[in-house]
Amino acid sequence: MTTTAPPREAPAPPPPARPSAGRRVAGRLLGWWRRLTAMRTAIVLLFLLALAAVPGSLLPQRSLSQTNVRQYFADHPDLAPVLDRLYLFDVFSSPWFAAVYLLLFISLIGCVVPRAVEHARALRAAPPPAPRNLLRLPDSGEVATPLAPVAALDVVEEELRVRRYRVVRRGDDLSAEKGYLKETGNLLFHLSLIALLLGLAGGKLWGYEGSILVTEGDGFCNSFQQYDTYSAGPLIDTGDLSPTCVTLENFEAEYEPDLTASSFTADIRYGGPNEEGRPTTIGVNDPLRSAGDRLYVTGHGFSPEFSVTLPDGQVFEKISVPFLPSDPQTMASEGALKLPDVGGDTQLALEGFFAPTGLVQGGVLTSIDPRPLDPRVAVVAYQGYLGLDSGIPQSVYSLDASQIERGRLVEAGAANLSVGESMTLEDGTVITFSGFQEFAAMQYSHDPGQVWVLVSAIALLTGLLGLLLLRRERVFARAAPAPDGGGTVLTLASLTRGSGESAPRFAALTDDLRAALAARTSPLPEVSPRDS
């Protein structure tokens, strides 16, 4: 228990030295600074930080899912803009979240740096003098010995040195201290927090991340134009992206008998542009790491393939588009195929549902197996105006429902198709489900702060263990001649900071000292077992 230690407030740092600027300003600044760097403030700021993180988990966040945020806007058209103005959809990059953690870190620096200086001094300094009244300390007691004062203190000093105390004698007083590592751990822990924050910030400023769906046989190069979505730190220069190109040669998903997915692997080639590239395999939990960049497979899915024959005999072969899995268990997937350039005035679009292993019951197609054993699609064909050039961005995975509502896109047929089957629209257009391809969702990431963060985290944990597990102990002894004239009365006391109960430890130490003193006074001293 730390009850023995006096309450420790943050030591006040020296005032910002400005001799002529007026004492009152300096005094007030000093007051603020003291208040900011006090532990009480730190506790309040810790709570604010915890509290500030809460909305980030309860409201949809742009950094996690743009789609969910858009959905929230659609569901709460009045509330959402207000929340947005308060940065509640970007909590973790909001100014107020930053304000809380920056204040906390300023408080931390103001608290820890003076302590580090003090600690550096303490490491070299001798243990402090013994307090005047040792018996006031909660752990204290007296031991009588026939030895002379100096000889008695010699024994105590030897015993304490064996226990790795640093010992200093001042006349009839003795002070000893050990456990400096606890404070070192404390400082390491708190300073690592700062290092960790710097690492995080560096990663955000100079890092980037791009995702893309790649069909088997296709590839991409690391550039922001190619990614479906990307995010980049403000200090990243497009010229800085490492010139890597990746080709997906084969994608494999394996399943347990109960259809739990057991592994996803992608055979890829990677290298510079126009190089043949090195082959490798990446998978779940097993990304490619090269030169500070990482490449992941984050998902997979199917791209059904269609051919369209127009009434005038024009044929479009093998048009395919990725359908996004809506149920990862069965890989039932949904998507849309938009053909703005097919058939002159009327544009053509398909919206559909893909089942790798389909089962049609009562005209409704469902998927019963994630493996492509019997792929089927349920498609609805639309004709009319897609609204692609209206200037409003559209999802590539679905049709613009407002165009259908307004009657600009009109349903022209619907069917469930197996591979090779066709449907014919009223105007004679023939749509054939000709097969499918598999695609992998890939993510390319670069985070230069990552290793720094890892090292800081390890330092943090090390410091924490030292801080929590070690004890800092001071032992004092004072020798005084015994009142009856024969021998010495030793007053012993100890002061412990840190976990653990100090009383039993003090009792054990006292017993050991008593035994050692007794060993010295016995008329025929045996070889002391403690002589080192």
Binding site: A50, S57, E256, P287, Y296, T298, Q443, L464
Partner: protein
């Protein structure tokens, strides 16, 4: 591989046995409280509680009290601990059988995770109670949440044993999740101790004649509870820190970033910050005692929220879920 169905059934049987035995232990702990004599005020003024176990760690009776009742209470207490140990063995059997049947670590879904967390709490409590007599008196308050928790887990979280999904097939499952289970289980004990501390210290603050006479009087002294809460939190905090760090390392290879404020990550962070706040509060003037204990209770609520609401309601990348 195909799971061994008979072992899975055995695991479910063990679950029922564990719940039944915990209930028996709970009754025995209640009996211990009921038979233990209430401290008499006169003696309390001298500074010794009437129930010796409350005062000394060795349960030495104070001579004048009727030893019969105390011995009976102690016998109930020992019986309760013994049954708790048996229950914990059955409880461990739930996980061991699952592990053998499925040939994997038995923390691949929320049912298994929550079951393991409760087991850690029970083991932590038994270890503490064996070392300190005083803590046997809080058995009821540990076992009651345990029984409730187990029933809830059995009713709402139960899933059939199944192989792990691909994302969980990593050595980090063993490292990250094990640490999270340990940390969580220990924080549970810490939180219960702080709740009891709050109850007890409120009672102690009253003048002697207004003090509660029921179970409150039989709780260990508030300083014992406070120390228990602090020591367990100090033990749990580095473990939880490690769990979060290991989770980040795993996320880096599994999800493409080491930290992304996924709801589960966010709440683990919140819990970490709250427990750091607790450790600070314990050493800061003005926060010691009841305010600090409240912080620990908030920490407990955050942990429980993280296990229940975040897993079941919000959609994140963590593939634990009800199903």
């Amino acid at each position: 591989m195909t799971p061994d169905q008979s072992l899975l059934d055995l695991s479910d049987t063990f679950f029922s046995i564990a719940v039944a035995l915990y209930s028996v232990a709970l009754v025995a702990f209640c009996a211990q409280l009921a038979f233990g004599r209430r401290p008499e005020r006169a003696r309390e003024l001298v500074g010794a509680g009437g129930v010796p176990a409350v005062v000394g760690d060795d349960g030495v009776a104070d001579g004048t009290a009727d030893r019969g009742a105390q011995r009976r209470a102690q016998r109930w207490g020992s019986l309760a601990i013994a049954v708790t140990v048996l229950a914990a063995l059955a409880h461990a059997g739930v996980l061991v059988c699952r592990a053998l049947a499925l040939d994997r670590l038995p923390w691949g879904n929320m049912y298994e995770f929550a079951t393991a967390v409760v087991l850690v709490s029970v083991v932590a409590y038994v270890v503490l109670a064996l070392r300190s007599q005083a803590l046997r008196h809080i058995g009821v308050f540990v076992l009651a949440p345990v029984v409730l928790g187990m029933v809830g887990i059995g009713l709402f979280l139960y899933v059939e044993g199944a192989p792990l999904v691909a994302a969980l097939r990593s050595a980090w499952l063993g490292i990250h999740v094990t640490a999270a289970i340990l940390g969580f289980g220990i924080f549970l004990v810490s939180g219960i101790a702080s709740v009891l501390y709050l109850v007890r210290s409120k009672d102690e603050a009253k003048p002697a004649e207004e003090r509660g006479s029921g179970f409150v009087a039989r709780l260990p002294e508030s300083s014992v509870l406070d120390r228990l809460a602090h020591r367990t939190a100090v033990f749990g905090f580095p473990i939880w820190t490690f769990a979060v760090i290991a989770g980040a390392i795993w996320a880096e290879s599994a999800w493409g970033r080491f930290w992304g404020w996924d709801p589960k990550e966010t709440w683990s962070f919140i819990a970490w910050v709250v427990y750091a706040g607790y450790l600070h509060a314990r050493t800061t003037a003005g926060w010691r005692g009841r305010p600090a204990a409240w912080v620990n209770v908030v920490g407990l609520m955050v942990m429980i929220f993280n296990l229940t609401f975040v897993n079941l309601v919000s959609s994140g990348l963590h593939s634990y879920g009800g199903k």
